[in-house]
Symmetry: C2
Subunit: 194 residues, 2 copies
């Protein structure tokens, strides 16, 4: 197989944690899904499950963080980009049987009070997403502080809408939350121009 | 003790699930925290942990659902009510060492793809919260559909902000998301009046 063992373990872990959460996923299950020998887990992750969890969060966060630029680069403007992002997330969530939402939110809530290294990894991923989005909003005409706030509001709206969308098995929360963020961005850009 | 055993088990479960999640909490831990004999768990919940989880979701959801009316009744108007709700949630979250956010979101994400009875319980709780909020927004001047959408946007913003606030140990996401929802409500009410 061409993918190195460590990377296969991280990718299998990412897939399982996204659907079943951190505590709900066993390390044996992860190495089995990765088609890796059990010993390779502790060879690559001497810190065990927690270290693997941290690597999964960072890798998943970086992967998901690449989606934003792809969508915004294809959008005619940032407000349309916000609508496209939420619409794409809604469609993808339904297509994957309501499983494939945010790759790290479940784990972020599970570990927020129980694992400091994993909590810090989720915190850094959220920061990296906002740092990736904010300059686009700033380039469209907002000052840096307002751009950062609206990028944060977008991630908040997205994460919360994923919770309701998965519970209800409905795209609606993503469309509703996306529209509120898009309008907030539109209003801020209008105020910045005026 | 005056609180009946079943209720003590539900309340102890609610406390533990909120902080450690569903899969991260053992039933032994719950009955111990409830100071209940182990056998009483299966006496009151013949369906075991999943049935207890469902009861915890419904009870926690109903308790948390009482917060909205308390805050909005004390607010001079619904827009201020939204700001007060998010500010209160932010303050309470910090005061509880970043543990006491939404009582069901962690479980909702954990079980969305793994337990149909628990997923349905979380879905019903989210619906009940929105059904509790929307009539207030409608009474302030919105049509029913718009009132429901903004109530949904408020819950989405709140849930997503809780994820970031717990990860960062910062009140900021709650203030930022709350302000976006408050402004969206203000704008919708202005448009309804005009």
């Amino acid at each position: 197989m061409s993918t190195p063992t460590r990377q296969r373990i991280v990718e299998a872990g990412a897939e399982l944690l996204r659907v079943k959460g951190y505590t709900g996923t066993g390390v044996k299950e992860i190495v089995a899904a990765a088609e890796a020998p059990f010993g390779s887990l502790y060879h690559h992750f001497p810190g065990g499950k927690e270290q693997l969890g941290e690597a999964v969060i960072r890798w998943s966060g970086a992967m998901y963080g690449q989606l934003g630029p792809l969508i915004f680069d294809a959008a005619p403007d940032v407000v349309t980009g916000v609508r496209m992002f939420f619409a794409g997330a809604a469609e993808h969530l339904e297509e994957t049987g309501w499983t494939d939402a945010c790759p790290i939110a479940t784990v972020a809530l599970e570990v927020a009070s129980t694992s400091e290294p994993m909590r810090l990894a989720t915190a850094e991923v959220f920061t990296s997403w906002i740092d990736g989005l904010a300059p686009r909003f700033a380039a469209a005409g907002l000052d840096d502080e307002r751009a950062r706030e609206l990028a944060m509001a977008m991630i908040c709206g997205l994460e919360g809408a994923f919770v309701l969308a998965r519970a209800w098995r409905s795209q609606e929360p993503l469309h509703v939350a996306g529209e509120v963020v898009a309008r907030a961005l539109e209003e801020a850009l209008g105020a910045a121009v005026a």
